[in-house]
């Protein structure tokens, strides 16, 4: 004789979820209405009404989910009374699932709605300071054009950094007594360049090199100074990224390669680096995104990049909306890169799993 243990409890959770969904709807209505009352511009008021409608609709979906949970919970109770324990368990599980989805939805709707209200609050002050559509549209083309400079800086420095960073990493790991001075130099460089803020390196190079009268170097234009400064700084970071990747390859891989007769450098090249590269892609991307963002520092040496262009608009309109445009541009170029890397890693994993 087997005795089935009863279904998990679901009623309290379902009731709580339902109350929460109702509270969410009330909050959206009350807050939305209050914020809208303070808005004077008709367009903004319409936008507020639209947001409230969306909030209420999503709140409705949340409530509907909660009610479903409640329904399943009652059904579970009926089934338990009829001694259909297995069915009762399934219903209770479903009820709990609905309740948890309700919590998730309610949380997301609340945060999203609150953020939009923040823009509208105080008669849309935030919107008018950071997000004025006309000013954004008016400056967008010039800023996008100047943004090409940022992209160029990031790409050229990026390539230099990938190469120089690897050289630094290998120099830092060179074995033996003969390698000691090289190791020392590499460590000193990496420590130094990571310690000094990028903006200071940029400043020193951008304003200092022209004064030195060095052949070639002092005659470069500001953009090349920027590339030089960013490359010098970021190579130090990238060297550490490479090094951590190389260090995380198991020593047995070295033993296997050396036992076949491969030299130290051949081992690095054929076996260690190819494996390490796959590991360093995610931190490498983070570093590259940081580099990309730091291209906006070049405004301190007067290069006309997107940020500099936007500041020009901002100071002539006494409004920051043009700077928001720059922020948006950085987001737009960054997100595809992160998705691309995710895709690449997944593909690599799949390739090795299913032949």
């Amino acid at each position: 004789m087997t005795t089935l243990s009863p279904a998990p409890r679901s009623r309290g959770l379902a009731v709580f979820a339902t109350l929460l969904a109702i509270a969410l709807l009330v909050a959206v209505a009350v807050v939305g209405e209050a914020v809208r009352a303070g808005i004077t511009s008709p367009q903004l008021s319409a936008f507020g009404a639209w947001v409230m409608a969306a909030g209420l609709a999503l709140g409705g979906v949340t409530l509907w989910t909660a009610v479903n949970g409640l329904r399943c919970s009652f059904q579970s109770g009926r089934e338990a009374a009829a001694n259909e324990i297995l069915a009762s368990r399934a219903s209770a599980a479903q009820s709990r699932q609905h309740s948890f989805i309700t919590f998730g939805l309610a949380f997301a709707v609340l945060i999203g709605f609150a953020l939009v209200q923040l823009v509208l609050i105080n008669d849309g002050n935030i919107q008018r300071t950071f997000l004025r559509g006309d000013l954004m549209a008016g400056s967008a083309l010039d800023i996008a054009r100047a943004f090409i400079v940022n992209i160029r800086l990031a790409l050229i420095s990026g390539v230099i950094v990938l190469v120089f960073g690897l050289v630094l990493a290998i120099a830092r790991m060179i074995p033996g007594k003969a390698g000691a001075p090289v190791r020392f130099l590499a460590v000193a460089y990496i420590d130094l360049m990571r310690a000094v803020p990028a903006i200071i390196v940029l400043y020193l190079i951008g304003f200092g090199l022209p004064l030195t009268n060095l052949p070639v170097l002092s005659g470069l234009n500001a953009e090349w100074f920027a590339i030089l400064a960013l490359s010098l700084t970021y190579s130090a970071y990238v060297a550490e990224v490479y090094r951590s990747g190389i260090a995380s390859i198991h020593p047995s891989q070295w033993a296997a390669s050396r036992s076949l007769g491969f030299s130290y450098l051949q081992t690095l090249r054929f076996f260690i680096l190819p494996q390490a590269m796959r590991l360093v892609i995610p931190p490498m991307l983070s570093t590259f995104i940081a580099l990309q963002k730091d291209t906006s520092l070049v405004n301190v040496i007067g290069t006309l990049d997107a940020f500099n262009q936007a500041k020009f608009y901002a100071s002539s309109t006494f409004n920051l909306s043009s700077v928001t445009v720059v922020a948006i541009l950085f987001v737009i170029i960054t997100i595809p890169q992160t998705r691309f890397v995710d895709w690449m890693l997944e593909r690599g994993a799949n390739r090795r799993k299913g032949a």
Binding site: S252, Q253, A255, A256, S257, R258, S259, L260, G261, F262, S263, Q266, F270, F271, P274, Q275, R278, R352, K353, A355
Partner: protein, 247 residues
Amino acid sequence: MAFIELSGIEKSYSNHHVLKGIDLDVEKHQVVTLIGASGSGKSTLLRCINALETIDSGTVSVDGDVVSGPGVDLDRLRRKVGMVFQSFNLFPHMTVEDNIAVGPVRLLGEDPDAALRRARELLERVNLAHRARYYPDQLSGGQQQRVAIVRAIAMRPEALLLDEITSALDPELVAEVLNIVRDLARDGMTMILATHEMQFAREVSDVVVFLEQGKLLEKGPPEQIFGEPKEERTRAFLKQIIEAGRL
């Protein structure tokens, strides 16, 4: 003159004295088996022979040439003396056939197509031709170890060092790997192997060496070592092994 000659090998890790004056000669086509408790120095001794570890004193000579001490082309030595590890150590980013062909192509200058063809032939011999294009982590442990042996063989070494190559395998996979070693022994490959598979050691070895705490305590033909060991401690070790059901 023996093919591999070890004399007075000493090795310490910081203040841990691991090998205490090992002398051992291995003739061409001989199979020498190292037995002894875990930590007795079997792996270290093997790694000293192909210079994966440097020795503190003593000499290693291979094929009449002293290969310990400074000024030796170790990469050339290692091409002559292949090694197979307990944990397989295949290159995970390369297919099975590339694992095998990479050495011949990059180090012996063989034509890539010819090297791949030979890799597949060798795989055929260990019944793994159908896995040539797979990646190591798609294979069972036994299959990986067979590939690792083939990888070492592909370099046409004159001797092989095998370090507990079945210790990481599930029991049912041990035989498929040992069969290959048996074939190699029959073909006259010079081998030094560390193992806990006493039955197998008894069968393939010409000489069995018992190591204890870094000392070569006893050596002789397998019948003598397993049948009537001279040393009390060899006897004790073998008794433990028998009790563990390994002999």
